[in-house]
């Protein structure tokens, strides 16, 4: 099937404005009659719940953490982009749009990206009004920095905790609506099923993580803002609770999963130290503004970094990409680091690491300046590694960080299941095959504050509110299904723990579907995952019962979904017989090792329809057209 993204036609500059006018509105007096269920309270979900509540809708918001403030958006460090052009350095909506399309390696929809660039300015204003303490210059104006490969300074930041501050802003807006009574918050609840009635999303089935109660909440529309899926690699920079579960359960009810193979591997993470490790810690890539990446020229060089003379160091990013140097985009920087390590020139435990050296910057700017810029990151690095990065270079290695793929949505952020809207990292829309730095925060808030309030009205205006009640047969069935599924997990009583399976899956994924993928490695993964899945369902040990706080059961459900989803990810990667952005197929590279796209055959969004476990998923395509940015080879030389 050919999917229709429903993008507005005509000049892109006015597309969103025209679309906003064309959409239907819900009468103010009628808004409270509509109930909207928002799953996830990160930047996208929190902003959406707050904004929809403020408009007068009856909102219920759900999160698995004990507070809406703890969603993993909180961990974003670097900043948020906006096309304000405050520094007068040539930025514009068009340039942000252009950079995002190009950065995404021409695999995103133009209209969505334009809208994102357009509303980026509103986001900054909104956050400032909420009391987000953005960095200011001496005169009191908002400060900007250049970030993640952008050649203009368009990134707004709040120390190294921009995500935290933006999330707390959204959380404060949400708290205000909770007090006003327009939003009801359900913390420590996890969505385990989507209730679809007559083809439309009408509710969710959740598990109360404290009491174990499984119940259905019905509404007139469901908004998923449940984040990304890179925990499929087990070790990633995501929080321990991040999972594909909400999305995957929606997929099982008919939603399409788009571009799952687009995963972002972040170049500046702290390398793994051992098997015991449960997660990887990211350090903001703003570090690359002042740090220089290098590896020893000699293979297997075990000398301490200080003993390696300048001429025996390979500043590989500066060598390969003279104009962008250490600021090359994430996928390029990550792959370059992997190449050094694959070439036996890696450093640290297991040789999986490269140096990020601040010695030159400290010499040039002084330690105090570096401390004022990155003090908290150096502190964090020291806590984890016990090394002082002012004295010895940091060791970094790439780690799974973000997923550009997600549920397929049209221009209205509505999935192929009517009434099911998907926002933020959970959808696939704007980042194409690779996300630029400081764009995730922008997208989450854009979707939540400035897109969904308009587009959901267009849907709601067409339906009758409250048509499905909690005693609907579909709700009962959903509760039975979820209960049965959980009981099955509890009854296996095998020998291996949930974490062991997750680790094994992660290993398969990282080795075969990680930074560099080949037909052979992907086929290997597609062969191994179902075997592991089968073992999981016959040999997993989940202690306790379903009627209590049971973290093993929660994790078991999430890992079970990863075991199905991982296979789809590998299949998508295998089918996409080209390299683009975060998806790198070793068969498709330029002579110098750059990603080689195949625009003739793969310039489309690949959205997968679930047909059942162990059955072949069906691919649906949405062709991508580029009218405003010409398809070109992405070059950062």
């Amino acid at each position: 099937m050919i999917l229709d993204g429903k993008c507005p036609k005509g000049p892109i500059q006015t597309s969103w404005d025209r679309h906003r006018f064309d959409m239907k509105l819900v009468n103010p007096a009628n808004k409270r009659k509509y109930k909207i269920l928002v799953v996830g309270t990160g930047l996208a979900g929190g902003a959406a719940a707050a904004s929809l509540g403020e408009l007068g809708y009856n909102v219920e918001a759900f999160c698995y953490q004990d507070s809406a403030r703890r969603a993993h958006s909180i961990a974003a460090q670097g900043g948020i982009n906006a096309a304000k052009n405050y520094p007068n350095d040539g930025d514009s909506i068009y340039r942000l749009f252009y950079d995002t399309i190009k950065g995404g390696d021409f695999r995103a929809r133009e209209a969505d990206v334009w809208r994102l660039a357009q509303v980026s300015n509103n986001i900054i204003d909104q956050c400032v009004a909420q009391g987000v303490p953005f960095a200011r210059d001496y005169a009191g104006y908002l400060d900007n920095r250049s970030f993640g490969g952008a050649q203009v300074s368009r990134t707004f930041f709040a120390r190294g905790q921009t995500g935290q501050q933006l999330l707390l802003g959204a959380y404060s807006a949400l708290s205000r609506q909770v007090k006003a009574g327009s939003v009801k918050l359900f913390a420590r609840t996890e969505m385990l099923d989507l209730v679809v009635v007559d083809g439309e999303a009408k509710g969710i089935t959740i598990r109360d993580l404290v009491t174990g109660e499984i119940r259905t909440h019905v509404g007139d529309a469901v908004v998923l803002a449940t984040g990304g899926y890179v925990n499929v690699f087990y070790l990633s920079t995501n929080a321990m609770g991040c999972s594909v579960t909400a999305n995957w359960r929606a997929v099982k009810k008919g939603a399409y999963f788009a571009n799952p193979c687009y995963t972002q591997i972040h170049p500046t993470c702290i390398p793994q130290t051992g098997e015991h490790q449960s997660k990887l810690t990211l350090m903001s890539e703003s570090l690359r503004n002042d740090g220089r990446c290098w590896a020893p020229k000699k293979k297997g060089d075990t000398r301490a970094p200080g003993e390696i003379p300048e001429e025996e160091r390979d500043y590989y990013l500066e060598r390969k990409y003279p104009s962008f140097g250490n600021l090359a985009p994430r996928d390029i920087a990550s792959r370059a680091a992997k190449e050094q390590c694959d070439d036996s020139r890696g450093v640290g435990p297991g040789g999986r690491g490269v140096y990020l050296d601040f010695a030159d910057s400290i010499k040039r700017l002084g330690e105090d300046t570096i401390r004022s810029r990155y003090g908290n990151l150096f502190e964090m690095y020291e806590k984890i590694t016990d090394e002082n990065a002012y004295k010895v270079p940091m060791r970094i290695y790439p780690a799974p960080h973000y997923s550009m793929g997600g549920l397929w949505v049209d221009y209205n952020c509505e999935s192929n299941v009517p009434g099911l809207f998907v926002l933020g990292e959970a959808n696939f829309s704007v980042h194409g095959a690779n996300r630029l730095g400081a764009s995730a925060l922008m997208q989450g808030l854009a979707d939540g504050y400035f897109v969904i309030p308009y587009t959901i009205a267009n849907y709601l205006a067409k339906i009758k509110p409250g048509s499905v009640k909690a005693d609907h047969p579909e709700c009962k069935k959903s509760i039975e299904d979820v209960t049965g599924y959980n009981n099955k997990l509890l009854s296996i009583n095998g020998k291996k723990t949930v974490s062991e399976f997750h680790r094994e899956l992660g290993k398969i994924m990282w080795e075969n579907v990680g930074m560099a993928r080949s037909e052979q490695s992907l086929k290997e993964a597609i062969k191994k995952i179902p075997v592991l899945r089968e073992e999981f369902w016959s040999n997993v040990k989940v202690t306790g019962s379903g009627a209590e706080l049971n973290q093993q059961l929660e994790n078991a459900g999430r890992v079970a979904d990863f075991l199905e989803f991982g296979e789809l990810l590998a299949k998508d990667a295998l089918h996409r017989n080209e390299s683009c952005g975060g998806h790198f197929r070793v068969e498709h590279q330029m002579p110098d090792g750059e990603a080689k796209r195949d625009d003739e055959n793969y310039c489309y969004v690949g959205a997968w329809e679930f047909k059942g476990v162990d059955k072949e998923p069906e691919l649906h395509k949405e062709p991508l057209t580029f009218e405003n940015v010409h398809l070109a080879v992405r070059s950062y030389k």
Binding site: R70, D125, R136, T273, H276, L282, Q551
Partner: protein, 246 residues
């Protein structure tokens, strides 16, 4: 290294709890404290026992989910460090470690090391925001914010809402948590319009939720993994006095 753990086990809010002893074997100094517990749990599961439940999520010290009192100090007493960022190299072979949940009237225990912190939410809902509408706000640069004010606000806004301040406070008071938000918004022009109402509403909510009163022990600041200063409590007190005369 090998360690002896005494961990608080409590099966539900109403059930009685007690400390139980476990052995953590072959712990690597590079492990984080939670990874050490993960391994203890793996062993418990394999032996058919109930694993220890504890709150955790981001494991990089920012989400505020982790909440354990280690050897009598919330987050273990290493300066500016959450439990998840505490590494085993700060312990030595043969150590005995006591692990307990946050304890305060306003934080009922749900299970083992997990407590219910929804009372902190009530404080925030009482006024921890500016009442701006989505859209319809001024340009970000329309109102200048002096750099010192922005820095001061950011210092306060570092709070991760973990509740260590309450757990450490001999009075079970949430004044540091409350003051961080009050101070952040009181120093920014965007928050000043509602400052008087906010400080009254938030402190009332804290009182109503069963948190104690501040009596200036300053245990909160010492336990805070983000080093939020009690100077913000002084700021809250100032704001409160201003509100009294409004």
């Amino acid at each position: 290294m090998n360690l002896t753990l005494h961990v608080w086990r409590q099966n539900g809010a109403k059930a009685p709890g007690k400390l139980e002893q476990y052995e953590a074997k072959n712990v690597s100094p590079d492990q984080s404290f939670l990874e050490m517990l993960d391994e203890v749990n793996e062993q418990l599961i394999k032996n058919g026992k109930e694993p220890i439940v504890f709150d955790h999520d981001c494991r990089e010290g920012i989400c505020g989910m982790c909440s354990q009192v280690i050897n009598g100090v919330p987050h273990g007493g290493q300066e500016r460090t959450t439990v998840c960022q505490l590494h085993m190299r700060s312990f030595s072979d043969g150590d005995t470690i006591y692990i307990e949940p946050w304890r305060a009237l306003a934080f009922p225990i749900l299970k083992d090391l997990i407590v219910d912190r929804s009372n902190l939410e009530k404080i925030m809902q009482a006024g921890g925001y500016t009442s701006c509408h989505t859209g319809g706000v001024a340009d970000g640069n329309a109102i200048l914010v002096p750099q010192p004010a922005a820095e001061y606000a950011m210092d306060a806004a570092e709070c991760i809402g973990c509740g260590a301040c309450v757990a450490a406070c001999p009075n079970g008071s949430a004044m540091l948590y409350t003051s961080a938000k009050v101070a952040q918004l009181a120093v920014l022009p965007q928050g000043q319009a509602e400052a008087a109402q906010r400080v009254c509403d938030m402190t009332d909510a804290a009182q109503a939720a069963g948190f104690g009163n501040c009596s200036n022990h300053y245990e909160c600041q010492a336990a805070c993994p983000k080093g939020v200063s009690v100077k913000f409590i002084a700021k809250l007190n100032r704001e409160y006095q201003k509100a009294l005369f409004k």
